[in-house]
Symmetry: C2
Subunit: 403 residues, 2 copies
Amino acid sequence: MKYINGGVCAAKGYTANGVHCGIRKSKSKLDLALIYSEKLANTACVYTKNLVKGAPLTVTRENVADGKAQAIICNSGNANTCNADGIEKARAMCKLVAEVLPVKADDVVVASTGVIGQTLDITPISNSIKELASGLSADGTAAAEAILTTDTVRKEAAVEFTVSGKVCRIGGIAKGSGMIHPNMATMLIFITTDAAISTEMLQKALSCDIENTFNMISVDGDTSTNDTVCLMANGAAGNNEITSEGADFDEFKAALNMVTTAICRMIAGDGEGATKLLECKVSGADNLNTAKICAKSVICSSLLKAAMFGADANWGRVLCALGYSGADIDVNKVDVSFKSGKGVIDVCKNGAGIEFSEEKAKEILLEKEIEILVELNSGNASATAWGCDLTYDYVKINGDYRT
Amino acid sequence: MKYINGGVCAAKGYTANGVHCGIRKSKSKLDLALIYSEKLANTACVYTKNLVKGAPLTVTRENVADGKAQAIICNSGNANTCNADGIEKARAMCKLVAEVLPVKADDVVVASTGVIGQTLDITPISNSIKELASGLSADGTAAAEAILTTDTVRKEAAVEFTVSGKVCRIGGIAKGSGMIHPNMATMLIFITTDAAISTEMLQKALSCDIENTFNMISVDGDTSTNDTVCLMANGAAGNNEITSEGADFDEFKAALNMVTTAICRMIAGDGEGATKLLECKVSGADNLNTAKICAKSVICSSLLKAAMFGADANWGRVLCALGYSGADIDVNKVDVSFKSGKGVIDVCKNGAGIEFSEEKAKEILLEKEIEILVELNSGNASATAWGCDLTYDYVKINGDYRT
């Protein structure tokens, strides 16, 4: 099992494209993406738990109720959420796909991201749909580009693995950046695989995986209304279909986890305004839930995030975040260290400060990827959460996002 | 019942002082406060729910276990938390007070605020204790100044009211600014009253009040390790002691609430880096808990806070925050308006956007105090939460707090 190049078209039998249709003002910004599977694919989705749900989620949920989909259409620049006619517009997007590709409208996954509460103009989409479909190719980069909003980099990852002697591939693209604090689902993530796997096992693998990946990221504590993860499996690799638990399913889950973990790191590291990826690794917890709660609480602390921006080894804020996390821990047993490519430094033992070189700490914290290591010394469970620093640019980006 | 000038010395029989002792480097910054009651006072306290608790809280809890206290000593610049010898140092502070005033060491409330995890040097405190005590006067401003950290203004409020024909006073001072997201207690708040009231009723009034006041503020979602609210009642007003529920107790609770509400608004409006006070008023909820959860969720949204900094009427972020709050609401019934001294503007009806003048909205949102009005249209319960905008300066202040 290994990482390979590519994203949503890394697996056999998928093509994609992205164009600028005009929802976004800047002509240099692609804003409409299409992903197409040659065969009808088994499909699993998870969605935001926000009670305010984007209209596209309602339509997607209807369309994948039978566990099948064949195409994904996604626009950026407008979330098509909190609109009187959102569902109508989301259905219209699916119909447009059915007009230009040999798919049924109700086999289309639809997603939107951008401003909430503004009417979505369907005209730019209908004007561009033919161009979008005719440009489909095995190069997924334009689609990866078109789903972004304030993201600064494309997010793609792919993995090659083997099931019943057949080489399979799984790869995905993601849109992250702001309003990132997933709850059961996250952001926009489209993952495709050519492995043959039943819808039931596909959903099982996805629902299990997100608990330790996307649900462990936070950029700003805001859970979006449009978070969607969609995983399609078209079976083009020719392996024996995975229909139950066992070695093949484990192999598939491991490959999926390699893709989702890579995407998590990309999303957190490219959080709005971020200059650093923060990775909080909690170990020595007496159960998994405690480890997860602690890791998430640290990664969500605005004060710690700001300290990391300033490369300030203010470990008291780590202790503070553990203390209010709600987890049942013995704070007098906690050790804290900071780690990066420049080394590792211990800053707290048994819940109290220890002497350390501020100079060395600064050198470590000036790196772009920082690990915050928390040892609870109470058991064997561990968990990782991902986040980013809090910066001037986060405020700037969100102080006037709509203009 | 009316607001009067003054703070912690507005009530009869209390004196206070504040000095620069040297815990903080800047000589212009007072860092040690003392509040003294001529008589032993009935005393009620509430504390942070953070599992990491400052050593001063442990000592204060011991000292007020009998429901009595006569003095408060508080330093800024060092939280005396997560230190090996914190409790010893906190006890030493109480002993120093007993050496210079006619009080017992175990009748002293002790509090500290500042950096976590650095050893507290007791020498500057012992060197200054005589000067501190000899300067006690009915002017509480130096004490109000000395408990501040990154606060930009003193926080004082006082109210005059009447119990059994006797004029009583209640007033307090507060330290707020950062790491503000109280849970059952908050920040440092010292309130004194000359009303006669039993410790039991005093605690009841305080514990009840904070649920609707301090626990409804958030600056940054971080619950401090040292939050303490202390309320002293010395009976100097000469009223019949309040020992049970009834009209007198209601009068006292109303006066307390006037003081705490005023302090809440001051703390939120002076949150770290804040340029605006945000007040979210949720009405039409089917129960109080729902109203409170909704109001608090809106006030905590980093995205909404950044939008308010930019005077951007991005109401979709209000809906989003309601949606992920965890409250059981019908999002299709929600109305949202923004209000300030410049007027009021409706921006969302029945969960969907409505046309509004962006120009008018901007004018309203450029004010220093903004009300975010949320009508759930599902019942009669309402609640208010207070917060502030998220600004460049919040990041700046917290990016390098320790230097």
